[in-house]
């Protein structure tokens, strides 16, 4: 166990004494990065951040001048090795918090967050592999923390990622993913586009199905650790197909988000 893991587990494990409240901390926006036309990363300085594991999330709390508050959960995109915390936020036009964080907010603005939250949907190189990541849309965010952590922790664990997006301009972290896969013989990344693909597109062009999983993911015999994240219909379909292919249900970690009807 690393020092970071020990610290995180110490804050997550219930103890016999009354545990301290997971404190709200001040976050200041150091930088904003437009990832796609609708998604933006916020690079944050968080006071006394206790560390996190790849895959965990935070609760964000915004307060308006009239005292009104709103809370939402967002996945952490940055690896534990980085001092700054990065969140990537997909803008939902009729939403309340995401249009602010992925639109109005700018460098120097501050808000509150607490975490890390969620000790199940997590992976570190110590857990071993092979590591199989399957993302739908902005479900890539917590999986990106795992890929970034793997890259900084030695690239020894064999890993594959299958990433589904609506269109080429909706692919998150596209240049970084290409750079990560270049020269890393133990990592392969396959992209699929579900709505429109450019003429020169060399990736897949449909929703993820059993055939695509068979072609591009580790087979059940290799007992991969599989992390699936995306909108509910995406995760339901992919997780069911994985079990149908023969993967043990307890090797499939899932995280679902968003309304039931949305598809990537």
């Amino acid at each position: 166990m690393t020092a970071i893991e020990a610290a995180v587990l110490a804050t997550l494990r219930p103890t016999v004494t009354t545990p301290p409240r997971l404190a709200w901390r001040e976050a200041e926006i150091l930088d904003v990065v437009d990832e796609t036309p609708t998604a933006r990363s916020l690079v944050l300085a968080v006071a006394d951040w206790p560390g996190h594991l790849p895959g965990q999330h935070v609760d964000v709390r915004l307060t308006a001048e009239d005292g009104y508050q709103a809370q939402r959960s967002y996945s952490i995109a940055s690896p534990p090795e980085r001092r700054e915390l990065t969140l990537t936020i997909e803008r939902i036009d009729d939403g309340e918090v995401s249009p602010y964080l992925a639109g109005e907010a700018r460098r120097g603005d501050r808000f509150e967050l607490r975490g890390p939250i969620g000790g199940y949907f997590t992976w570190t190189v110590e857990a071993g592999g092979p590591l199989q990541l399957i993302a739908g849309g902005s479900g890539l965010v917590p999986l990106m923390a795992m890929l970034r952590h793997r890259a900084l922790a030695g690239r020894q664990v064999a890993a594959r990622a299958l990433v589904s997006s609506r269109s080429a301009d909706a692919i998150l972290y596209r240049a970084e993913l290409d750079a990560l896969a270049t020269g890393d013989t133990r990592l392969s990344i396959v992209q699929t586009l579900t709505r429109e693909a450019p003429p020169n597109w060399s990736g897949e062009r449909r929703r993820i199905d059993a055939g695509m999983l068979r072609a591009h993911t580790f087979p059940p015999a290799e007992r991969p650790r599989i992390f699936v994240c995306g909108p509910t219909p995406f995760v339901e379909a992919v997780a069911s197909a994985l079990v149908g292919l023969g993967h043990a249900p307890d090797r499939v970690w899932t995280e679902r988000f968003g309304p039931t009807g949305r598809t990537p």
């Binding site: 219930p14 997971l22 907010a105 339901e236 899932t254």
Partner: protein, 202 residues
């Protein structure tokens, strides 16, 4: 701390139907599960109550469960991930009716609910009795869909919705409280949304 330029946009939070602190209203029905959705046929389904030693003192098949006196409830539900859904309509069998069918009082003050897929959650009997908890088999007049916990889930609507364990198969009574799956990963032991008991220490 005020976040510059942030304003209230939704009219539902704090509107005519109050929701607990930090929650927002959705018309949708989001799904949260830690793994793949288990699919258990009702022909292979059964439900058990176990005493403090882990011995079964009540066991019923799907058909026997549905023969018990039904309970219906229309109620607001609150997920720890911040969404609340108003006026959800459920049908099932109350915790009280199960104990009555078993013909004995609760053997202990706490239970661990256990489920297909390995999920567990802990509850106080005081949060289940008196019509507060049920084994729900129908949502909105239809059989409960697998992704929402079908064929049967626990329904304890006055607590955060992770306590309403999907794919429930039994309750094991306990002499003392002990953490279930999420409770062992930093979530609150009881989870009262009106007290905003989201995480350990809240």
């Amino acid at each position: 701390m005020i976040s510059r330029g942030f304003r209230r946009k939704r009219s539902d939070a704090g509107g005519s139907t109050p929701v607990p602190p930090g929650q927002y209203v959705t018309d949708d029905f989001p799904v949260l599960s830690a793994g793949p959705t288990p699919r258990t046929e009702t022909a292979a389904w059964s439900f058990a109550l176990e005493d403090l030693e882990g011995n079964e003192f009540f066991h019923c098949s799907w058909r026997e469960l549905l023969a018990l006196p039904p309970a219906e409830i229309t109620v607001d539900i609150h997920c720890v991930t911040k969404w609340s859904k108003l006026g959800t309509r459920w049908k099932g069998v109350s915790f009280d009716a199960l104990l009555a069918a078993a013909g004995r009082p609760a053997p202990g003050p706490y239970v661990m609910a256990y489920c297909d897929g390995g999920y567990t959650t802990n509850l106080a009997v005081a949060d289940l009795e008196g019509g507060q908890g049920m084994i729900a088999t129908e949502y909105d007049g239809k059989p409960l869909a697998p992704e929402h916990g079908g064929p049967a889930r626990l329904l304890v609507p006055h607590l955060y919705f992770w306590k309403s364990a999907k794919w429930v198969r039994g309750l094991r009574f306990m002499a003392a409280d002990a953490p279930g799956f999420w409770e062992g990963l930093g979530y609150h032991r009881r989870g009262d949304p009106w007290k905003e008991q989201r995480y350990d220490g809240d």
